[in-house]
Structure formats: structure tokens, C-alpha cells
């Protein structure tokens, strides 16, 4: 590719990186997905949150139009027993990354309308400082 054609892109990147509209401190949320299960029981939601700010970030809740309730949970194994704990907040340290993944931290989501494998659903993650991020979660099959 000739160098000339790269220039507009580079210029845009430069503008974006200087723009105050892109807050460098907003958390980066990636790999957001939900495991679909048959029946009306709750589902597990997973994502990776990277705190790009120099202050600790506290996740305090989540909501979404497809769900009547969403709770923050953590699965733990104690003496060979699997337990699930309901958490009211989860702290992501300054500059740190926290992975919500099966067998650990997860969202517990109660459906109020059906969701279909392959779909994307919006979920708003709320933080203690009043900030919130709406993220698209992909619905995956039972086997992930």
C-alpha cells in the first residue's frame, strides 16, 4: 500500500488521540459474552475489564433490557465444594485487568425476554463514581 493513502488515517488517529471526547481513563471492556442455557433459569455473563485510569474502579451493578435482574457473582471452590457468592461491588485496581470468566467472577442474569444464540444484547455496567459503560454481549451456546 502506498504511503500516501495511509496519511488520512494517520491524521484521524492523531486527532482522535488528542480529542477530549475520548477519555483515556474510561475502562476498556472486551470479550463480553453470555452462555445461553435452556429453560428459564439464570445465565452467566463474562467479560474482561481493563482499568486504564490511575484510580481504583469499583463495579457496583449491571442492567440490560433483556434481563429483569443482574447480579455480580463469584464462584469459589472450598474443600471440593462449588459455592457462589453474591457481591455488591468488585474493585479493579488502577491500571489493572479483571477477567470475568466461567468458574470465577461473573454476572448472573435473569431473563425477562428470550435471548437467542448468536444474538448480541446490550448490558450497562455501572461504576461507583457514577460512570457507566454499555457493552454488547454475544450470546454463545451452552458449550461456550
Amino acid at each position: 500500500m502506498p504511503l500516501k493513502s495511509l496519511r488520512p488515517g494517520l491524521a484521524l488517529l492523531l486527532v482522535l488521540s488528542m480529542s477530549p471526547a475520548v477519555a483515556a481513563s474510561s475502562p476498556a471492556i472486551t470479550n463480553a459474552w453470555i452462555r445461553w442455557l435452556p429453560g428459564g433459569g439464570p445465565l452467566g455473563g463474562y467479560f474482561v475489564v481493563h482499568n486504564r485510569s490511575d484510580k481504583a474502579l469499583e463495579l457496583v451493578g449491571a442492567s440490560g433490557p433483556a434481563f429483569s435482574r443482574i447480579q455480580l457473582h463469584r464462584s469459589i471452590q472450598v474443600h471440593g465444594m462449588d459455592k457462589m457468592i453474591h457481591l455488591h461491588s468488585i474493585t479493579i485496581p488502577a491500571g489493572g485487568t479483571l477477567r470475568f470468566r466461567p468458574g470465577g467472577y461473573h454476572l448472573m442474569l435473569w431473563r425477562q425476554s428470550p435471548v437467542t444464540i448468536g444474538d448480541h444484547v446490550d448490558i450497562c455496567l455501572r461504576f461507583a463514581d457514577g460512570e457507566h459503560e454499555t457493552v454488547q454481549f454475544r450470546i454463545k451456546g451452552p458449550a461456550g
Partner: protein, 198 residues
């Protein structure tokens, strides 16, 4: 210790371990419990409402796992891991069955349990029972389960064993594994159990 002596000793160790392997000392990636746990035995109810016994499931390698369908995280994680393991086994997977025993009979109706189990594959069978039957089975394999306090919506968590018990085609207890093992490790050990069963 001088280096040549050390090397010789290591060499001797290798020869010894090779000899052991040749004598049938198999290596396991999960936990070998052969002779340590009783044979598979239970009375439960299947998803058609029929009373079933362990004998009805003889002739296949059976994986026994306790859970409940209102379990959104660890149960599907474990069952999905088993599904991947069966996929890795290839055609031999037809000789394996997965018994998913719900310890939450109050919420897990036969229909709900059937759909949940089958979502992971045709070899997955949902079973449940009375509290007496479930407790008898749990005690037999030295595990337990308990219920959390219901919340304002009546939802409660169920604490349950993480273990997957593996029984050979004759119903003898052979392995314990759980979701922390890779499907590769689980398939490796299941293959050895299947090979021994012939």
C-alpha cells in the same frame, strides 16, 4: 555428589520408571481412585419420571456429576468441559454416558432437567431423586450439598460437589476429575479406562 554419579543415578531412575510403565503402571492426568470408592449404586428418578437404578446404566463408562439447573456458571462450565472431552474422544464417546444428578429436585422438574442435560449432548442424562435418595448417593461418594438462604425473589444457591466421578463399564469407581482439568487430560484418562474395559 559428583556429576557423573548424579547422571548415572538419574539414568537408573529412568530405567526403573520405564520398567514400571512396562509392567502396566499407567500414568494418570486426573485422580485415579481405583479401589478407594464403592461401585456405582443408586436409586433415582429419570426425566420421564421412572425409578432407575445404577444397574440400568451398566455396560458404559459413566460420569457422575452433582449440580442443579439454576446454576449458571460452574455446572455449565463442567458440563461443557465434559462435552469437549467427549468430542476429543471421537467414536469412543459412544461408550460414555454422563449422569447429571440434580440435587435441587424442588426446582428441577423432569422437563427442565431433560432440556438442560441434553443441551450439552445426547450422552447427557438428567437424574434426580428424593432427599433421602440424593443423600444416600452423596454419602456413598463422601460429598455433600446444601441450600443457601432464599432471597427476596425466592432464589437460592445450591452448594454442591465439584467432583466428576468416573465409573468403568462394570460400575467400578476409577477416577475423580473436575472442571479445572483440561479436556485433553480428561480424554487421556477416559481413554485408558475405556481401553482397560476393552
Amino acid at each position: 555428589m559428583s556429576r557423573p554419579t548424579f547422571t548415572r543415578r538419574m539414568g537408573l531412575l529412568c530405567v526403573l520408571s520405564l520398567a514400571l510403565a512396562a509392567c502396566g503402571g499407567q500414568k494418570w492426568e486426573t485422580h485415579n481412585i481405583t479401589g478407594l470408592m464403592p461401585d456405582l449404586k443408586f436409586t433415582l428418578t429419570d426425566t420421564r419420571g421412572r425409578t432407575v437404578h445404577a444397574g440400568d446404566f451398566a455396560g458404559k463408562v459413566n460420569l457422575l456429576y452433582f449440580g442443579y439447573t439454576n446454576c449458571p456458571d460452574v455446572c455449565p462450565l463442567t458440563l461443557a468441559g465434559i462435552a469437549r472431552t467427549l468430542h476429543d474422544l471421537g467414536p469412543s464417546a459412544s461408550r460414555v454416558r454422563v449422569l447429571f444428578v440434580s440435587v435441587d429436585p424442588k426446582r428441577d422438574s423432569p422437563k427442565v432437567l431433560h432440556r438442560y442435560a441434553k443441551a450439552f449432548g445426547p450422552q447427557f442424562i438428567g437424574l434426580t431423586g428424593t432427599q433421602a435418595e440424593l443423600q444416600a448417593l452423596s454419602k456413598r461418594y463422601r460429598v455433600s450439598y446444601s441450600y443457601g438462604k432464599p432471597d427476596a425473589h425466592g432464589d437460592y444457591v445450591v452448594n454442591h460437589s465439584a467432583a466428576i466421578f468416573v465409573f468403568d463399564e462394570k460400575g467400578h469407581a476409577r477416577l475423580i476429575m473436575n472442571h479445572t482439568y483440561s479436556s485433553k487430560a480428561m480424554a487421556h484418562d477416559l481413554r485408558q479406562v475405556l481401553d482397560a474395559s476393552g
